[in-house]
Structures are given as C-alpha cells and as structure tokens.
Amino acid sequence: MGDALHAAPDHGPKKRSPVSTTLILFIVLAVMVAAFSVLSRDFSSFLNISTMLTNISFSGIVAGALTLVMITGGLDISVGGNIALTSCLVAYLYNLPHPVPGWALVPIALALGAPIGTFNGLFITRLDLNPIITTLGTMAVTRGLGYVLTKSRSILIMEDVTGFIGRTVIPGIQIPIPLVLFLLVFIALFWLLARSKFGRKVYCIGANQAAARASGIRVKRVKFLLYLMSGVAASLSGLILTGQTAVGMPQQADGMELDVITAVLLGGTALSGGKGTIMGTLAGVLILGVLYNGFTMIGFRYVHIRVFQGILLILIVALYEMREKKRF
C-alpha cells in the first residue's frame, strides 16, 4: 500500500517541490512505526494494530472531508457534536418500545448529518457568518440535542448492523470494516479533489475567492456542498463509533475536533486555504493515530497525551510557517 501512496502525485497548486511534504510525512510515519515496535512489544500485536486502525478510520473519515472544507479557507468544529448526536439518535431509536430495525438505522444516521451540514453551510455561505463561531454554535446545539434525547444517560446498543460497521473484522484477510470504509472514502475524496473539476474549483476558491467568483465558479454552492459533505462524513464516523463502543451518549467524541484539525494541518493543509492534499491528510491521520497509540503503549496516560496534543498543534503550524518563509 505504501508504495502506491508515495507514487501518488501531489496536487497542490503550488509545486515548489512536488511530493516532498507528503513524502517526509510518510517517512516520519515509517520511522515512528519502527520505533514503537522496538519500544513496545505489544504495539505490533494484531489486536493493537486492529484497534489502532479502527480508531484511525473513525477520525480519518472526518479529517478527509474537513480537508476540503479547510482548503476553501473554512473550518468545521461541529463534527464532535455531530458524532455525539448520531450515536445518541441511533441508540435512542433502537431502544424505543418499538425499536427501529437495524437496516434502517444506517440511512437514518447518515440522513442526520445532512441537515446539520446544511445548517452550517447555509449560515456560513448565505449569511456570510464566521465559520468557526457558527460551527461552535452548531456543536453546542447538536451535543445539546444529544443530552435532550438521552437525558444525559448512556444508552446501550447491542445491535448487529452497527456492530458490523464498527466491530467486525473481515475473516481471512483480517481487515476491520471501518478501515474498508475509511479507504473507500479516501479514494473517493482523492478522486474528487485531485482528478475532478470540482476539486479544481475547491483549490481555486481557497487560493483567491474573488478570482474564483469572477471566473464563474459558484463559490457559495461549492462551499455549501463541502459543509454538507463534512456533516455526512461526521455521521458516518458517528455510526462507526456507536458500533465500536456499543453505546450512545452525548459525551462521545468530546474534543475530537482538535484531533481532526491537527491531523489536517499536519498533512500540510494551510488554515488560510488554497493548499492541501488528501494524501497529506492521510499521512497526518496515520501519524497522529500511531503516535497516540504508541504513547499509550509505552505507558503515557490520556492526560499526558492531551498536553502533548496542544503543543503538537502549535508546533506543526509553526514549522509549516517557517517552511513557508525560509524554505527549509
């Protein structure tokens, strides 16, 4: 898999040194995997790798959709709340006196992300509101609705369809289902961003919005579609998390916006927009996933990782800033 990824061309608009950033990231990833395998014997066990990949898939799907949003210069921090509401809704519907059948839960969950994304998209594009604050508001609204639905309790959901999505490993080849979904989403996003006309529009808007509008791109519609996509992707992640943890509660995915934004920025997407690739985000997601897992394996606790996360986020952006200025 690794070689195919290295060969993938870097489709950022600025081609100072093609593939370099992404290549560096994948080298870092390889070094980290090697280091953790030496430091902790359990790191390379099948059980750990499987869990790690499931966790990566869960946040990676959101990070992938967020990459496109961030390339246009936007931001969506409502994803954590969206995931929490999805898990609450699915668990709530399954625990009604007349439970909603399992096969119906998946479309319902995915359909939940659409109105949330629509809400974000409409407010940000039509009323021209600040995306950070708007999605901060949506985060509170969605998580709040989760509290209303569950009355702040955790609802158990032992159900086959969500369980299949979140917990199953394909027998024989030993690949967890979330990883399959993650790869499918990334292939689709890669095609969309690097190969399709829509992707060119996304880069164009991020690089210069006024120029994009002048050249006939319907900026508002493109941005709206991206927020919609981000909403649906978050709901898909919510389904995976619900299946994996078998519980719906409003505190799910608390603070995950930080993980996801860090991964996207690590992948080389600029916060000011116009720059970034799906391959970069893939590398970012994998590096962070391996890092957190490896740290846990060698004995750090969640609180230490949290401190480290904060420093890492600032450090990453500082490094990219320096790279931009001094070109190392």
Binding site: D128, G137, G144, V303
Partner: protein, 359 residues
Amino acid sequence: MSGTPAAGGHERLSRRGIGDVLLYGKSMVPALGLLLAILVLFFGFMTKNFFTLGTFKAIFSNIPVIAVVSIGMTFVLLAGGLDLSVGSILGFTAVNVVLFHDWFVKLGIPAVWLPWLVILCSLGIGIALGAINGLIITRIGINPVITTLGMLALARGMASWFALGFEILKTGRITDPVFLNMARAYLPDAKTAIVPITLVYVIVLYVVAIMVLRYSRYGRNLFAVGSNEYAARLAGINVRRVKFSTYVISGASAGLAGAILVAQLSLGRDDAGLGLEMDVITAVVLGGVSMAGGKGSLYGVIIAVIILGVIRNGMVQLQAAIGLSYYWRDVVKGLILILAIAIDAARIMATKRRQVVRQ
C-alpha cells in the same frame, strides 16, 4: 435574522425606523435592554417564583465567572483576535488555587493574608498562560484560533495531570472560611443578605475596564488596532504589543475567575470551566462586540451576560413550571450564539452600505 435589506438599502437608510435604530444603531445597548426586559417579563409570567429576591441572588451569584472572563475576551475581540483557551486556563487555575492554598497553609501564612496571596498566584498563572498565547500569536505569527485551541488542550491536560498527581486534588475541597467568604459573602451584612459580594467585584472591574477602554491612550490604541491594523501601524502604534497585551488580560481575567469559582464552589477540580469559551464568546458577541474587531463596548457585554444568566435561571424554573427539560440549555446556548453572530454580520453589512452611500 435574515432581515438584511439587500435591495433598496438607500431608502431604508434615509428613513430609519425603530427597528433600524435597534439593530443597526451605533450601540447595541437599547436593543439588549429591550431583549432583557422581554425575557424577564416572559419568565415572570411563565413561572411562579421568578420575581423574588432568591432569583435575583441566584442570577447574580451565577454570572461573575462569565462576567469577569468576558472582560478579557472583549479586549481580545476588540483587537481583532480570538481566545478559545479561557475555559482551560480557568480549569488549570482552579486546580492550582487548591494546591497553592494547601501549600500556603502548610507554610503557616496567617489566614488574613492567605486569600490575597492565592488570588495573586491565580492572576500570575493566568497572566503566564495568556502571555504564552500572546507571544506565539504575535512573535511567531500563528493564527490565534490554532494557538488558543492548542492552549485549550494543553492547559486542560495539565490540569488533569495535576489532578491525578496530587493527593489533595482527589477531592479538591477547600474549607477555609476566610477564603470562601471572598466570594460567598453578602452585603450589607450576613443577616440582611441582599447583594452578593461578587457583584461588587464585577461592578468594580467593569468600571475600571470601561475607563481604560474609553479614556486611556491604551484603549484608543486598542480600537485603532482592531479597526485597521495597517493604519494603526502607520500611526506609530506598537501593534504587536497591543495584541500581546489583550491575550495577557484575557489570561488574567480567566485566572481571577478561576479563584472566584473555587471560592464559590469550595471545590477546585480539573473540569472547572469546561466549555466556558462558548458562553463567553456568546456573551461578548451578543453584547455587540464585533468579530471583525474595533467595535463594541462593555456596556453591551454586561447586559448580554445578565441576559444569559436570566435565560439559564429562567430555564431551571421553566422545568419546574411547565416541565421543559433543562437539557435544552445547550441547544438554546448554541442558537443564541449563532443568532448573535448573525446580528453582528448584519451590522457589519449595514456599516459597509452606509459608507458606500456616503461615497
């Protein structure tokens, strides 16, 4: 909300109705005052015990934390920045207040001095973390959202780390009556308790902050930086220093609020102030401080803080009166935040249109 006159803006500006004055006027204070009055009347009619001294005391002992942190956030927003880390800085301070208090007691410092020393320490911690934010933002030039999001994780992580590491933080209790009275006392005296002492602190802090914004050179520089950074630099204002100072002030106010919160709850835990940034940004933006910087006043902010306090208290009473689940509070909060920035956006658009008309 979407009442932004897209077409026919000229006519609307020449005939300004009462709605235009309220929504697009220079000050948000009349509109906010009206909203507050409507809310108070609404809750008064819907619930039984709203117009009581108990409600008054409950509201005014609940708002000091948000009110104090809102001062710092106002300074940051006026200079065109954003600070998402206030809740975490407050949490880290709260944990440290307990630690320092314990340490000072063991050192044998007399009880009279102790609260003041603890408050100095919490201010110091807030200033230190705010200064780190400010340095990263102004010296390295990293986006304030990313920097303070990083600090949000960092400070909360450190608070939880401390909470795991120190025995005293297993409970986090403080029972020292002198310290607790800092935030729990009532005026005029304990018997005829009417005005919570924290309300006095809030009033003093707001008066000082309003004076600074209005009459000091620093205040004028702050507005200049927020409304046009480039012009401010040309005018000889040290833009970096002004921006740096706002994050320090924000950190300091979060630290102070941490000490107040611990004294109010007699409890300093690592989850103190979780999600506070939401409440504070809502209050400040609803109060008419523009996200674009350079516009706004603390008069509007304090009214907005009171509005949020009234809504919170009113919703608790509504649950008792008509059975509306209190869990709707976060939904309401989020919607108010979005409404607030929608109004802000409409006001910015109206200003732009006015400038176009003048030209």
